[in-house]
Symmetry: C2
């Protein structure tokens, strides 16, 4: 029997566990049957709106149960969802709608002013869509593994936005891999506070139907609501990024999470060590992960047994995935930094309409991630930084993340961002932006003194800028590119 | 990225969790790294013995850790394992070795007198093999999903033995499907008392490396040792067939299994209802399943939530599998009996060298199982019997399993087998063989009276034969074919 097809996952799940909870949102509970029925009706309405098999449908939604219906509705028609980031500017949204060749745009009522898109692109709000007379059409009853399902634009911390095409198979294997790694129990309930338009949020929806697991969905990250969900609502797994984890730890204070809470899945870039130590002190089961849109979410995760002895590592590649560090066209040795490359059934086959980039970055199924890292003697991955953010100073490699992690260990430092600045003497020198606690008595001398004790001289930031906040994208990753602009606009500190 | 390849599963597992327990056997504990090293060495020794990629290697072993090494060693070379049933006669073994075109036979020292096989077939004992100088060769580092891995002959309760070809993908998906259905926890430990030469046992080995789960391996079923493993050795899952479960229940008596014991996976044919009720009374989490060699083990399982309200059902098809009941070339309605057909990535692509049978039984990926069953309004499968064992009496269908199940509810009846006997009046009539407790005062009148109260008249056995045991195959399935021979040899009872 062919392994190319999987049964329609929502239909299958609604058949297996019709009355079990799929989504908890805004005080309401929705069963898998509820979601299935809404999604099926909606797909007939999408069909009435003109959506055909293979069409690209832009989805402009903040997290909501309607967005869940819509994401699943596409599967019945074989349409491809282009999930738009609602924090983008009008111009950025317009670019993505055009670039992804969307024939239709469905929004939640709060649509930006999209310009410069083909006049044939049809827009509709969810409200209008759900009033259309459903038009009967044939539904997919099996999902071909190699059929594109979603296009998500990369967050764009570097380079220009590109649409990552993910197939049903990519999403399926991502969910299966995660279960093989994290396990799967009857009591699991996953909290989704990350935007569903990012793969970190979207992947939770896929897990929900594939595992038969309830998702506790929030419209956006809210410290109190997340805290409450863990403490009182039976949530056992949460996906977070560093800045969110930090806020949750502060909120937790001297309390402890319930025994049943079993996984804080931490992604979105290298985590500062002080943060991990803080979490460890509060007995929080943090699973560091490494992943990206191109890998349908996590592809490397630190498993429970190794979490404490390998603090700072992102772990090992998930079961059906592979990892290799490439240095000057050869596999790097243990502890040797190189480019992280990954392979596996959850890895994208490419970016939409970017044949050259695809040829450059994906070879024999191996994706060159553009990230730098190394594996230790036992094969544990340590992500050091984005390759494009690497600072080269007097021939020495400086990884901004390393300095940021160190800076965030200073009392009173909330977060830090480090970039390179041109230097006639050294080529580049590191420069730091720091967000400090207002109550803390931070100053440049103190910071520099701290750095000199901890870092090689060439790594010590040559400028310290105290700021109110750092520029972050919708995934809460620091936009170092933006810091470069900030630097140009600033008068240098003495 | 292609979904055709999976990393070499033993290498991957030994990398992910080198020091965790893979196998507990005969008082010894073997880690994944232990198994990997032994399997790798053994594969180089197999290579020295002349085994090449694609060769068919017969394996004649009783359960042992050496058998585990061997099963995994084949994967490095790409050789196909033909797992021989050690309970077969010399003639049957010879047939399978010839039919499967085995170039090599590896045995555990206790090999039968194989005749009528090609003179080129090379035999070796494990002992001799493990003394050979390992010959370096290139190892598979990825396992192609569509590459054959094992050939297992069907247990042969009906028809002539045929070799079921199972690929790496079949075994992989079987393990994944089971995890999606039964869940996966850190504490899982699976007991294998079934022979590894059957798919029910073999599949546990695959789960072990894919999940990173310890297997408690027994050389054969032993009531005391299984009981002890559950009570005292942390075993949480056990695969059983009805007759084994029955013995375990008797052994358990008034005791109860520990809280952590979470799954008694019951396969190997329709289960008698009285047995299920007995298990229920003892609070044992029995998961009824339906599966066969052709489906790489379970493909339909009753999930925990439904176990009590659907007693007697085998459940619903596992996540990536599909089920359809076919009656006269159409899909049967709810509660209508027809042939069970299944589809999914764990279903074989066919029998070795049986193109006609393959064409007959596998259509568009749907395997016609030869079993009869129905699904209720909610889609739960009830297996009624083997199609070939169906008794037709005066135009009425009689399912032997139904009568057997009823008979086993009589006080003092240990087990029962029912077959059809030619009748000039009715075409066929049902005839029963009963194994009774020696202490019980069973007789024909009592049994017939009981049957008349419970069964339609045409279903009441027209003859009752009291016997010491029933003929069973190596999987403990009743060999009704053999009962037909017994009947011919017996003088009928009055």
């Amino acid at each position: 029997m062919s392994t190319e097809m999987i049964p329609h996952w929502l239909d299958k799940r609604a058949f297996l566990s019709p009355h079990e909870t799929a989504i908890v949102f805004d005080g309401n509970t929705y069963s898998f049957q509820d979601i299935q029925q809404k999604a099926r009706t909606l797909s007939s309405q999408l069909h009435a709106f003109g959506v055909q098999d293979g069409d690209h449908v832009a989805i402009y939604f903040k997290n909501s149960v309607e967005m869940v219906y819509l994401v699943h509705a596409l599967t019945y028609l074989g349409a491809v969802g282009v999930l738009l980031n609602t924090r983008l500017t009008d111009k950025e949204v317009s670019f993505q709608v055009s670039d992804a060749e969307c024939s239709h745009v469905v929004h939640d009522g709060d649509i930006p002013n999209i310009q410069d898109i083909p006049s044939t692109t049809k827009l509709i709000s969810f409200n209008e869509l759900s009033k259309l007379e459903p038009e009967p059409c044939s539904f997919y009853t099996e999902l071909p593994q190699d059929k594109p399902y979603t296009i998500l634009y990369t967050s764009g911390t570097t380079g220009s936005p590109k649409g990552v095409v993910l197939t049903y198979g990519n999403h399926w294997w991502s969910a299966v891999s995660s279960a093989l790694n994290l396990g799967l129990t009857e009591n699991d309930k996953w909290l989704a506070a990350l935007p569903l338009f990012h793969v970190g949020g979207l992947s939770i929806l896929m897990k929900s139907v594939i595992y038969g697991m309830p998702v506790y969905l929030l419209s956006s990250f809210d410290k109190e609501r997340v805290h409450n969900a863990i403490m009182n609502e039976g949530v056992t797994m949460v996906s977070v990024v560093s800045v969110i984890l930090n806020r949750l730890l502060d909120r937790l204070g001297e309390e402890r999470y319930p025994e049943a809470f079993r996984c804080m899945l931490l992604g979105g870039g290298p985590a500062p060590k002080p943060l991990l130590e803080k979490a460890k002190a509060k007995e929080i089961p943090v699973f560091q992960t490494y992943g990206m849109t191109e890998t349908s979410s996590q592809i490397v995760t630190l498993s429970p047994g190794d979490a404490l002895k390998k603090l700072g590592s992102a772990g090992k590649a998930l079961f059906p995935a592979q990892l290799s560090i490439q240095h000057e066209d050869r596999e790097a040795g243990a502890n040797e930094v190189g480019e992280i490359t990954v392979k596996g059934p959850m890895v994208t086959e490419g970016y939409f309409k970017r044949p050259e980039t695809n040829e450059e970055t994906i070879k024999d199924g191996w994706l060159a991630t553009g990230d730098l890292g190394y594996v230790d003697e036992e094969g544990f991955l340590y992500v050091v930084d984005r390759r494009k953010d690497l600072i080269i100073s007097g021939g020495e490699n400086i990884y901004p993340a390393e300095i940021e992690s160190m800076l965030s260990g200073i009392d009173g430092v909330i977060e830090a961002g480090v970039i390179g600045k041109e230097s006639s003497e050294w080529g580049e020198v590191p420069v730091a932006f720091i967000v400090g606690d207002r109550k803390a008595d931070l100053n440049q001398d103190l910071v520099v003194k701290y750095c000199r004790e901890k870092l090689a001289k060439y790594k010590v930031p040559k400028e310290i800028h105290f700021v109110d906040h750092l520029p972050r994208n919708a995934s809460n990753k620091i936009l170092r590119r933006e810091l470069v602009h900030w630097l140009k606009q600033r008068r240098h500190m003495e």
